[in-house]
């Protein structure tokens, strides 16, 4: 079920998808029947700068994890002297526990295509690329067919809807690297180079794909645009909170009764998400911890769950909304196992470019391996904290900086589990867990 507030009858996506179900795709006739492409039609009749202004007014922020104001990004691309520009959709959804972009691409492809076309019109780009991860063949097929249908219907390609505006869109398949979800690594990947992050500045908005100004946004971000442009910033701001307008797609998984994808307005609490959307903890067990924001997010105990889903409120409590993944652990789960899984994932996916991420993760994995094998010591915990701090403080890219989030938060909230795994910490000294 969707959590609706303030009497709102509809949201941005109006989707709900629970494990096991495979709802039908909204094809082009369906999408048009629901008012699809009205926003594009309206935008084409106005100045592109007006589109950017509406996105700024709506307060949309990037949904891929970094939450950068989308309108501002658009303005940076738009204000370039260089006229060859690109719009890129980051559909390299690699964050463990996240499956929102896949769903949008397989079920609401035209909402994404319309959003990209709106973005292209706003920033003055004539070419676009959807970078879809290799592991999503269904999404690639769906987008491929949808692009063809949109071109056929005059909604993509030359002179869209009879206007002067042309926009050509193609798919680029990733090759399996998590790191290529980092926007500059993604650009390098498209250019045929190694998928490693580039120095910023220059930002992609100045020097992106092939050195040209480039707007890169997540699937969910771009798919928000038809609603914002079609229904206006005021309507959009009626969803969510003043700090964080709109809605968020939540990928809910783990030990809850209803696992699936839910759209919620900003401002609901994580507890509400778990109870209302998730239908509570499976098998009547007790909630132990929630991993918010994916593998690069934080692990928090139940008492933190009253925190509202809102950028400001979460930042204050060092909770990362990230991609919107919420992974629930019941009281049978081991925190250390969870952290070991995350650390192994990041060690495998690190691009290896910078020392803190590459060597930090190597050491972190050794130490967690030792802890899980009963060979850890109290001094290992201090090292874990120091290595993770160094990764956060000094890694080259955002992914490296976030790779230790699960670890550092779990060490803060569930230290007793780590201590219990240390051979040199006496049982008498082992404190009660906070969870």
């Amino acid at each position: 079920m969707n959590i609706r507030r303030n009497g709102q009858s509809d949201l941005v996506f109006n989707i709900e998808w629970q494990g096991g179900q495979t709802g039908a795709q909204i094809d082009l006739p369906d999408y048009l029947a629901r008012g699809g492409y009205q926003a594009l039609r309206r935008a084409l009749a106005t100045d592109p700068a007006q589109v950017v202004q509406t996105v700024k007014d709506a307060g949309l922020r990037g949904r891929g994890g970094a939450a950068f104001p989308t309108g501002l990004k658009m303005e940076h691309v738009r204000d370039n002297l260089e006229l060859e520009r690109y719009v890129i959709c980051n559909a390299d959804e690699g964050e463990p526990g996240t499956f929102k972009d896949r769903f949008v691409m397989t079920h609401l492809p035209f909402q994404l295509l319309e959003g990209m076309t709106l973005a292209a019109y706003a920033v003055g780009a004539n070419r676009g690329i959807i970078y879809i991860r290799y592991e999503y063949p269904e999404a690639q097929a769906s987008i491929r067919h949808s692009i063809a249908a949109a071109v056929e219907a005059g909604l993509l390609g030359d002179n869209i809807l009879g206007s002067e505006f042309s926009f050509h869109l193609e798919i680029f398949s990733g090759a399996g690297s998590y790191l290529c979800g980092e926007e500059t690594a993604l650009l390098s990947s498209i250019e045929g180079k190694k998928g490693r992050p580039r120095l910023k500045p220059p930002y992609p908005t100045q020097s992106g794909l092939w050195g040209k100004p480039t707007l890169i946004n997540n699937v969910e971000t771009l798919a928000n645009l038809p609603a914002i442009i079609g229904r206006g910033a005021v309507w959009y701001r009626s969803l969510g909170t003043a700090d964080s307008p709109g809605t968020k797609l939540i990928s809910l998984s783990g030990d809850v009764n209803n696992r699936g994808l839910f759209e919620v307005p900003f401002g609901v609490s994580f507890r509400e998400i778990i109870e209302s959307c998730g239908g509570g903890i499976k098998n009547g067990r007790k909630l132990k911890a929630v991993n918010i924001g994916g593998a690069s997010g934080v692990v928090v105990p139940p008492h933190e769950l009253d925190c509202r889903l809102e950028y400001g409120a979460c930042a204050k409590r060092e909770i990362t909304i990230g991609s919107g993944a919420v992974f629930v652990l019941d009281d049978t789960r081991s925190i250390l196992d969870n952290v070991r899984n995350r650390a192994a994932f990041f060690l495998h996916e690190s691009c290896g470019k910078c020392t803190p991420c590459r060597e930090g993760l190597r050491q972190v994995n050794r130490i967690i391996g030792a802890l899980c094998g009963g060979a850890g010591t109290a001094s290992d915990l201090a090292k874990l904290e120091r290595y993770t701090r160094t990764m956060q403080q000094a890694a080259f890219c955002g992914l490296g900086q976030a790779a230790g989030n699960t670890l550092i938060s779990s060490l803060a909230y569930f230290r007793s589990e780590y201590e219990a795994a240390c051979r040199d910490v006496q049982p008498a000294a082992k404190k009660e867990g906070t969870a």
């Binding site: 590459r358 190597r362 956060q392 403080q393």
Partner: protein, 572 residues
């Protein structure tokens, strides 16, 4: 340039707009550690040891890639910065062999120096044993991936300065490494063995093949008459091995040091550099007069020759057939000098002191045995000579001056120029002019071909015949010129190419720390050496005149053809 006002560690300072925090801090005497940073290279920001605090920034910022901004408050010495830098060093060292005394870089390793500076006496990290195979496949270079800290400096120089593209950063995560394509060895790819990668490596991951033991063995063998030749570029760089500033001229101390070390005769490659000018100058004239292949390309630089053999085999007829001065010396040492001294050539052991790693490869080419023996037996780089002299107990800076032995130690200022880019061209023009015009050249300095510009051009009037020449150094620039030659768009008569930036004074065998600044200092010193010589034209060298009179006959004669000229092979 506009100045930006800011604060570093609380002190109000200013730095030129556009400079990085690292540049600004170093200018102001604030030391910030670095490993992947190199002043001549693009910013990589891989190693992260240069992180500093910038007020208002949540994370630490890399000083190498962050530009100064007005009002910026930078702190380089806080507990947070120190802990992070020490942790990063600890992380690097945890994956690095713990055998500094066994390492060729013991004493000048940048990583070891930082470890010492930051008090890294106790490795708190678990040591990850590394045992990757060491590439010893070439005669010039050794690549030890176990000591690689993945800074990327070698790949940068290989791709962007030399454009040879041999060393790649490959794989990801902890598998990351820098190596030739598909796990091949250096001998299996088109590496020209220039050693520019060695010059920029902060650790012992890339180094020259150490030939010091072979030289000691020859010196210690009293049956052997060991003669040594010293390249022009070494006299302006060897002092750096003993703490002197780049650009220090140490010719006389160098001679004494070599005698001290036990060489029986101390000769000079400058002697055969003068000889090269006579042979190559006449070859140029013959090509001009008989419609030979033009432009003629110089052939002194073995990395450049190997580059041509790999990449431009169709242009090999353009290369001068002259051997390099090193190899001319070897061929004469075991023929002419053997005759003069009455020592059997098989008892003569020829050692070269070269600024170059590719010279090791050149000396072992099968063509280089025209004396009937291997012409040059061992090649030491400037760095190896520094080590050999330290082993010999030489207190270099306190040595009395010495003089080269005759006759293979007699030279002119023209020969000294060989060390700098444009030098061979200038030396050749001094001789060719007088041979063709038949009157004295009074202005001997051809300044158009001097300096660090990548490609230089000049036109010289030879009795009404305008001769257009060009000079390139660094293989990226050489490639530009060769593409023009291949496309028939180069109307030069003569082109000088040196493999390394700045010429041999910037060679891959030169002391660590070689960069644009030290290259410029050594070039200035090279011109000072030339200017101070009583004779400045190769054809005025009396020992060379004597050599032609007593032994060779004439330039391009029968004996020259046999001993001093060679052929090249297609390695594509």
């Amino acid at each position: 340039m506009e100045q930006v006002a800011m604060k570093i560690n609380g002190a109000a300072v200013s730095a030129p707009q556009g400079s990085t925090i690292l540049e600004a801090a170093r200018q102001l005497g604030v030391k910030i550690p670095s490993l992947c940073h190199h002043p001549d290279q693009r910013v990589k920001a891989n190693c992260r040891v240069c992180v500093v605090e910038v007020e208002g920034s949540r994370n630490l910022m890399p000083a190498c890639s962050t530009r100064v901004a007005p009002g910026m408050e930078i702190r380089t010495n806080t507990a947070r910065v120190r802990e992070t830098v020490q942790t990063i060093l600890e992380l690097i060292l945890s994956n690095h062999p713990q055998d500094c005394p066994n390492c060729i870089r013991n004493g000048n390793c940048e990583l070891r120096q930082l470890a010492a500076d930051y008090g890294m006496r106790e490795y708190k990290a678990d040591i990850e044993p590394v045992a990757l195979p060491i590439d010893t496949s070439t005669l010039s270079l050794v690549r030890d991936p176990n000591k690689c800290i993945k800074c990327g400096r070698c790949a940068e120089v290989c791709h962007h300065v030399q454009e040879t593209g041999i060393l790649y950063s490959h794989f990801r995560s902890t598998d990351i490494g820098v190596a030739p394509e598909y796990g091949k060895q250096l001998s299996e790819v088109n590496c020209v063995l220039c050693g520019q990668c060695v010059l920029v490596c902060p650790t012992g991951a890339l180094h020259e093949k150490d030939d010091i033991p072979a030289v000691w063995a020859a010196i210690d063998n009293h049956e052997k008459h060991v003669v040594v030749q010293v390249a022009p570029a070494v006299r302006v760089s060897i002092a750096e091995e003993f703490g002197q500033a780049p650009g220090t001229i140490a010719t006389d101390k160098l001679v004494s040091a070599l005698r001290f070390a036990g060489f029986d005769r101390v000769f000079d490659t400058d002697f055969t550099a003068d000889l090269t000018i006579l042979e190559e100058g006449h070859e140029l004239l013959r090509r001009l007069q008989t419609g030979g292949t033009l432009p003629m390309l110089t052939s002194c630089s073995p990395g450049w020759i190997k580059f041509m053999e790999h990449n431009y085999p169709d242009l090999l007829p353009h290369l001068s057939t002259c051997k390099s001065p090193q190899q001319m010396f070897g061929a004469l040492a075991k023929t002419y000098y053997a005759q003069l001294s009455g020592i059997a050539p098989e008892d003569i052991f020829v050692v070269s002191i070269m600024p170059c790693t590719a010279k090791k490869f050149e000396s072992a080419r099968p063509e280089m045995a025209d004396s009937g023996y291997r012409d040059v037996d061992a090649v030491l780089t400037t760095r190896e000579l520094g080590r050999l002299l330290r082993q010999a107990g030489v207190d270099f800076n306190k040595l009395p001056p010495g003089e080269f032995d005759a006759p293979l130690g007699v030279s002119t200022g023209a020969a000294a120029l060989f060390g700098a880019t444009g030098g061979v061209m200038e030396a050749a023009l001094r001789t060719v002019y007088e041979v063709v015009v038949q009157e004295e050249l009074t202005e001997v300095n051809f300044t158009e071909v001097r300096g660090m510009a990548g490609i230089k051009e000049a036109t010289v009037d030879l009795n009404g015949l305008p001769v257009k020449v060009a000079v390139a150094h660094g293989l990226a620039h050489a490639r530009r010129l060769m593409d023009d030659v291949r496309a028939g768009q180069a109307d030069y008569a003569f082109v000088e190419v040196m493999c390394c930036p700045g010429g041999c004074i910037g060679g891959g065998g030169q002391p660590y720390g070689t960069g644009t600044a030290s290259r410029e200092a050594r070039i200035a010193a090279t011109y000072a050496v030339d200017a101070a010589m009583p004779l400045r034209k190769s054809h005025h060298n009396p020992a060379v005149q004597q050599l032609y009179q007593d032994f060779l006959g004439q330039p391009l004669g029968e004996k020259s053809h046999h001993l001093l000229h060679t052929a090249y092979c297609d390695r594509s």
